[in-house]
């Protein structure tokens, strides 16, 4: 079992949960450790309860894990909620002046800090947080210099006095722990690696910049807003026009307008906003103007739980917009993939002149992961497809020559018609959401012609075969002859992978089939894999088994069992491992694990 260490910090919104989280994250990352951070929070600016989990280790850390090693409750409520999660070897550092500990399990070290004795709490309101960071780092076996460096950066803007004050307080916590608390059994190691730490939203925004996005617009909606924030903050450096729009209907239409002018254009939203974009997606497909649209799923339906994760929008996305049309739908597998996927999807959308949709979720959008800087490639391959960039040679500006013989919707074997953008002489045409003939003239009004309609429909839909050939089928990871095959899609990649490790360690050989490309699905390749599997279980973060139903509709494949979770919180590895055992014992075919962390 690989070495990891997880810290849980709980408190009310506005109490400063984020700052200690950032400080720990920086220190871990600078030691060359991987990390994964997930913040369970509510839709409130001050108050309520938030619980941040930061898990670190020398090897890849893909999820929040099953265990809290160090718990720092910032108020009584957090202590009361979470102390019971700790098991032998874990520790709880808390402000002894304001918080009373409850009964802890055997082997749990309670570490009360006499905050008012160690710091001047009239001057430093967050002294308890800084003391706890200092104490915790000592117990992890990390030298004080690492903390001093980060505090210096953190408070630099507030002047030397504030820097010195915070370093002093942290030092007091560090020394107090040295004298009074027992260090953790395994000190945190150090490696030579250097990682960037980023959220999925930042990754998707940066992936957009790397793909050459020149126009981004959005309406604020959790959990997608981080994309807008990154774009807005970096717009000038990256040369991107960023707009906040009146609603998501405006967003999708503005994005399509920019794309029609010839730039790569992107937008992001969550389920509710995506619902409003539905009609626009049909336009993108009908006028054959490529856009990339990101849906960061949150728990629905309706306003739902804005700060909680879910994989509940698959069928909305599959059914978005009326009529049949070609499109691509992909679900990033982790935060690094959030970056990588965007340039890939733009290339496909440009090549096939259709919408490219990203089905992300809060877990990735707002979670944070250490990613190797080499995996953030700002020079990915770029393929703009059949985009005509030169005038057709006549150079004349009068209309008689500008009509030429150009047909925007020329019927081709691939279904893709070379695309010219406004401003280019010699290619004047009108794109239309009404059904049209090759030159763009409407056939929907007085000239409707079944032969032409059929030809245009078939032209567009021929792209589907091309898209399928351009996208790789999914692959099985783990032993081919495993007892159990776990099937997941998108953001559950990491947690299922760790569940497989747990199960394999416990003698239940398990492999994993993780789906990244939802459309095209490559149903035949999936069937070939699954027909060779013994016991198949589909794991997904929703109530009805949306992927299970989709897989069944595409392949007639019925899985042996299902593990589902729809309480707003992500899976933990043991949820999946325990459910597999329960199902192998024949107790049930549908497991719905209970989330033990009450947030």
């Amino acid at each position: 079992m690989k070495q990891t260490f997880a810290i849980g910090i709980g408190g009310a919104a506005g109490q400063g949960v984020a700052t200690p989280g950032d400080i720990f994250a920086k220190i871990f990352s600078r030691r060359g450790l991987n990390l994964n951070a997930y913040n369970a929070y509510q839709s409130i600016i001050r108050g309520g309860h938030t619980f941040l989990t930061i898990r670190t280790g020398p090897e890849k850390v893909t999820n929040m894990g099953d265990r809290i090693d160090l718990f720092i409750p910032l108020n009584q409520d957090s202590m009361d909620r979470h102390l019971k999660l700790l098991t032998a070897g874990a520790a709880c550092i808390y402000n002894a002046d304001t918080i009373k500990s409850g009964a802890a399990a055997d082997g749990v070290q309670l570490c009360p800090l006499p905050v008012s004795e160690l710091a001047d709490i009239t001057r430093n309101k967050v002294a308890q947080n800084t003391l706890a960071i200092g104490a915790g780092l000592h117990m992890m076996g990390i030298g004080f210099a690492a903390l001093e460096e980060v505090l210096r950066e953190q408070f630099k803007k507030k002047g030397e006095a504030v820097v010195a004050e915070n370093i002093g307080v942290a030092r007091a916590g560090y020394d107090y722990a040295a004298a009074h608390f027992t260090a953790f059994a395994n000190p945190l190691p150090k490696t030579e690696n250097k990682y960037a730490i980023l959220s999925g939203n930042v990754a998707m925004a940066m992936g957009g910049a790397a793909a050459g996005v020149k126009f981004y617009c959005a309406y604020p909606m959790s959990p997608s807003t981080g994309v807008l924030h990154w774009m807005a903050a970096h717009a000038r450096k990256a040369g991107i026009m960023v707009r906040q729009v009146e609603d998501e209907i405006g967003v999708i239409n503005m994005t399509i307008g920019a794309a029609q002018a010839g730039v790569r254009a992107m937008c992001a939203t969550s389920g509710g906003g995506f619902a409003l974009m539905s009609e626009g997606l049909g336009m993108s497909a009908m006028i054959e103007t490529p856009v990339v649209v990101i849906n960061c799923q949150r728990a629905g339906p309706s306003t739902g739980v804005p700060t909680k994760t879910e994989q509940g929008d698959l069928w909305q996305m599959l059914g978005a917009a009326f009529g049949d049309y070609p499109r691509i739908i992909a679900a990033p597998l982790d935060i690094g993939d959030c970056f990588k996927l965007i340039p890939e999807l733009f290339n496909l959308a440009d090549r096939f002149q259709c919408p490219g949709l990203v089905l992300c979720d809060l877990l990735l959008s707002e979670g944070r992961l250490s990613v190797h800087p080499n995996d953030l490639d700002f020079s990915p391959p770029i393929d703009r497809g059949e985009l005509i960039t030169a005038a057709n040679g006549n150079g004349a500006l009068s209309a008689a020559s500008t009509n030429g013989g150009y047909k925007r919707y020329k019927i081709t074997d691939s279904g893709v018609s070379p695309r010219a953008v406004p401003g280019l002489p010699g290619h004047i045409h009108t794109v239309a959401t009404d059904e049209h003939q090759e030159d763009g003239v409407l056939i929907s009004d007085e000239f409707t012609n079944p032969v032409k309609r059929r030809a245009m429909m078939e032209k567009r839909m021929r792209k589907v075969a091309g898209i399928e050939a351009a996208v790789p089928p999914p692959a099985l990871s783990g032993p081919r002859n495993a007892d159990v095959t776990l099937i997941g899609w998108g953001s559950t990649q990491g947690v299922i992978e760790e569940a497989c490790e747990l199960l394999n360690e416990q003698g239940i050989s398990t492999n994993q089939l993780q789906i990244r490309w939802l459309v095209p699905l490559h149903g035949e390749a999936i069937l070939e894999i699954l027909n060779g599997s013994r016991h198949t279980i589909i794991v997904e973060n929703n109530y009805s088994g949306q992927f299970a139903r989709y897989l069944r509709s595409e392949t007639s494949f019925v899985a042996s069992g299902h593990i589902r979770k729809y309480d707003g919180e992500p899976f933990m590895p043991h949820h999946i491992a325990d459910a597999v055992k329960e199902q192998l014992a024949g107790n049930t075919k549908l497991s719905v694990p209970m989330h033990e962390i009450m947030v």
């Binding site: 990682y195 617009c217 000038r236 009146e246 239409n253 029609q260 336009m283 209309a399 401003g423």
Partner: protein, 298 residues
């Protein structure tokens, strides 16, 4: 919009003719608007490949198919949003948005207000016939109280929107009203609207001869009075414009209600566009910028 105007050689009316003829009902006011628009483009001599005509859905929104410029026939109510994106991606293009009163003031009302306050540099022509035509005659947002339609057979009981007052309140920087029956006047307003740097709103009385039997050519003709004929009228005076906008009945003003030139356009205010249109930029982020984006995460 003058910066985007490049003079062409000998552009004439025939050059602006679309691939097909309009399928509007004989006598429809929209013919007059199309002709005035084509005439204005000829008089301004803007190369047709640098013009994009964008519409929503409805009878009047079929216009881009009937004029030989680049065109987009988009979704009902969404033309202004599409046009904003297109203009921001290539602000060298001359963008003209056309549509009807249902498209612009009903389903597209939200975009109408926000496009005006943003001062997006484009001309928005509404062919206002106070009725839904393509859906065969229902009440529209500009239908007068009492008007009987298929959707309100006992008479409309909802107050109409006043497009001119709304545009004034929303911050449009060029606001005018034309009448399809006044060709020369309308052509002049379109030219001014194209040349104005910022959002130009042109509401045009464009009678529906099939479904609106109240607001006909005959009804409008004796009522419309050109603001240009009143030498005392000052179109830079917002309050005067607001007062004029409220007139309806025996006297209905047409012409330029309001113009101001001191508000930056949206593309002009955004520093990202200082280096020229987005569409002409390198796709790649500069290497030093890319490095700094990663460095700030470490």
């Amino acid at each position: 919009m003058a910066s985007s105007v490049q003079r062409a050689s000998q552009l004439n009316m025939a050059d602006l003719k679309g691939k097909v003829d309009p399928d509007w009902c004989p006598g429809c006011g929209d013919f007059g608007v199309l002709a005035a628009l084509q005439k204005a483009l000829v008089e301004l001599q803007i190369p047709t490949h640098n013009v994009v005509t964008i519409s929503g859905i409805g009878c009047s929104s079929n216009l881009p198919g009937y004029i030989n410029t680049y065109g987009m026939h988009t979704l009902h109510g969404r033309a202004l949003a599409v046009a904003t994106g297109l203009k921001l991606a290539n602000h060298e293009l001359t963008v003209i948005v056309t549509g009807g009163d249902g498209d612009g003031f009903g389903i597209g009302g939200n975009h109408f207000v926000h496009t005006m306050r943003r001062n997006v540099d484009l001309l928005y022509i509404v062919m206002d016939n106070q009725i839904y035509g393509l859906t065969t005659g229902q009440t529209s947002p500009t239908s007068r109280v009492g008007m009987k339609t298929k959707s309100m057979p006992f008479g409309n009981i909802e107050a109409p929107v006043n497009p001119i007052s709304l545009a004034l309140a929303a911050g449009a920087t060029f606001i005018a009203r034309g009448f399809s029956g006044e060709q020369k006047h309308l052509t002049e307003l379109i030219k001014q609207g194209i040349e104005h740097k910022g959002f130009s709103f042109l509401d045009v009385f464009s009678p529906c001869v099939t479904y609106n039997h109240d607001n006909t050519y005959q009804w409008f003709r004796p009522r419309v009075k050109k603001l240009e004929d009143d030498s005392a009228y000052d179109s830079s005076d917002w309050t005067a414009a607001m007062e004029k906008s409220l007139l309806w009945g025996e006297e209905i003003p047409i012409g330029k209600f309001f113009e101001r030139t001191d508000v930056p356009t949206l593309h002009g205010a955004e520093l990202v566009l200082n280096e020229g249109p987005l569409v002409h930029r390198e796709l790649r982020v500069p290497a030093d910028a890319a490095r700094s984006f990663i460095k700030e995460l470490m």
